[in-house]
């Protein structure tokens, strides 16, 4: 999946200049399907900075035409009593976790699609309705989707949600990294509204470097782990935290790409149709032999 084509290489050189000059998004926006572009964008989420104001939840709904109450109602802290998950009515949610060192300063963690570099959902989708875009976004195509929900089975972060109560045209809903919005040069809605700059938008590889740098410079503030840098082969959303990520309910995942051995098995069984064709030939020969065998039937 992660092919470095000549075109994307040329774009890389162009984009590197653009990125340095402060126009990160422009060059990366030409659409290509399932190409892992070296200048794909990402977001660095610093959970030690997030104040849990939930503005991002409101901005996300507004940007995606999901009905929402007024932004003032988002000051309600009681929602933090229970862990929430993104669903078909809110593509991102913020959860709150206790800070073992400073009780009055809890950790807030924004949750949304991680936009994997090697997404399990893209590998799994029966009709290829999910795709990894050049600008980093993993997006869903309503024209193709049949609603089988295999992406939900596949996703290691349990992100895609489904509109179970729609009899016609139920959709898979998940964060699309503001794919359409970013085309017009705007920031992702959540990044744009964040009042404390807990979210940093930029080229993914650069964000990873920044994240490592922060960990190095403030070892007392961060645990030495950039979540998403290597998990399931890398994600475009990266996280920094002050406690072990397990305490913030991040799933513990290995470095192997999210589709795992599934694709190797799949391609192994087929391998240019050699195994099925051989089996066909073998059965044909067996059938021919047994047909021409004298009628001595009984096997034992």
């Amino acid at each position: 999946m992660a092919k470095l084509t000549r075109r994307s290489f040329l774009k890389k050189s162009a984009a590197a200049g653009a990125a340095l000059a402060g126009f990160p998004a422009i060059a990366a926006q030409a659409e290509e399907i399932n190409v892992l572009s070296p200048d794909r964008m990402g977001v660095l989420v610093d959970t030690t900075v997030c104040i849990g104001c939930r503005s991002c939840e409101w901005a996300c709904k507004t940007a995606h035409d999901i009905p929402t109450s007024a932004i003032e109602t988002y000051e309600d802290r009681s929602v933090f009593e229970k862990m929430r998950r993104p669903d078909e009515t809110s593509l991102t949610v913020v959860n709150r976790y206790e800070n073992p060192d400073k009780k009055q300063l809890p950790y807030s963690v924004k949750v949304q699609c991680m936009h994997c570099d090697h997404p399990a959902c893209v590998s799994a989708c029966i009709v290829g309705a999910l795709s990894k875009q050049e600008n980093g976004a993993v997006i869903w195509d309503t024209e193709k989707c049949i609603g089988c929900r295999y992406c939900m089975i596949a996703c290691p972060f349990q992100i895609p949600s489904f509109e179970y109560h729609k009899p016609l045209y139920p959709s898979i809903r998940k964060c699309d990294f503001c794919f359409e919005r970013r085309k017009t040069g705007k920031l992702p809605a959540c990044v744009g509204i964040c009042p404390v700059e807990a979210l940093t938008y930029g080229p993914r590889e650069e964000l990873a470097r920044i994240a490592r740098d922060r960990v190095k410079r403030y070892p007392e503030r961060y645990v030495n782990h950039v979540y998403g840098e290597y998990e399931v082969g890398g994600t475009d959303w990266l996280y920094l935290a002050g406690v072990d990520f397990a305490a913030l309910q991040f799933p513990k995942l290995g470095r192997n790409q999210a589709p795992g051995v599934s694709e190797s098995i799949q391609h192994g069984i087929f391998a240019y149709f050699v195994p099925p064709a051989s089996l066909y030939a073998l059965l044909g020969v067996l059938m021919w032999i047994s047909k021409n065998r004298p009628d001595d039937e009984e096997e034992d």
Partner: protein, 411 residues
Amino acid sequence: MVHFMKPAPMQKKFLTPGVIALLVLAANGLVFLAGRFLFGIGGVANLNNQYPWGIWIAIDVAGGVALAAGGFVTAALGHVMNREQYHAVVRPALLTAMLGYTFVAIGVAIDIGRYYYIWHPLIMWNGSSALFEVGICVTIYVNVLYIEFLPVVVERFLGRVDLPGFLSRFNMLAERLLGMLDRGLSKTMFVFIISGIVLSTLHQSSLGTLMVIAGPKMHPLWQTPVLPLLFLLSAVSVGFPMVIVESMLAARSFGLKPEMEVLSKLGRLTAPLLGIYLAFKIGDMFIRETFVYLGVFNTVSVMFMAEVLIGIVLPLRMFLSRSVLKSPPLLFIASLLVVLGVLLNRVNNFIIAYTPPYSLVTYVPSVGEISVTVGFICILMLLYRAAVIFFPVISLPDKSLFPREKYSIRG
């Protein structure tokens, strides 16, 4: 005596008290099914964002595909190995496979959110998706099964075409077409029979690949890279037991004597197949050292042990015993255990083993989901009954009914 068996339509009436009970359950299922189309999947099923797949996938689809494996296993034995004495069971197994796969397709159609897009995989391909492979293979295989059943239809009507009313002028034409079909089919049937076996091995194993991508969301007792192999081996080993079960049920229902001569031979063939499956299952457990999870007493360990001990070990022991092979009730019980064991395995793989990282609500199938599944099984049995009454599927001793014997390859 087996060699003088010949398939014939059952001369029985359709309605019996048992059939009426099936009709009631079928109607009940259809009512809930209507709810699914009016209010969406969530209106009937207890599925949610944590548990996207439930019993409609685990039982109707995965279980259905596994239990319809009798079709390709008997085809391999009867046609490829050309064991004449097994031909009596090829047609019933073929009919089960044909109806079973039809309901697998219907099961998929009602479980996907956009049932009207079910044709999409035919033109929108994703070669890396295990589900895509399953979908394509099952689609082709359903058609192959219908073609394999065509000779039975031709045999039913050839020389007996009698269209009603003004259509009767086409009798000659229909007869000619049937004749052409008859000659064409008997020459080309081997192509379809072999295709059917290849397609079956492909999608039976790919059905196992399905859950591999769920990775750590699936309990280690079941999550293994050899899942495709385990699925294939279990499908192969459940083929004959399923034929035995349905053959005995049909015999009882139509007041015939069970074909013990053939069935106990099938039982004897089952033992080694079941043994291979068990060996791989246990071997996989020891290589990945997952037996540590069996030390704890919980749902997962109990379900795994039930699947292995009651579904594989016990029936394997029974199939190895001569007295079991000779006794109809014991042979039936042993076969039924294998069938239930494989069904339990599919439920375990798709539901019990599936543990999402963030589980807000656990999944318990709703009354509606169970009703639809039960309803489908009932409709399938009703169609099977109707088909064997109308078409020459079940073999009877030769002296009865009609003397046609045309096909070098029957079934």
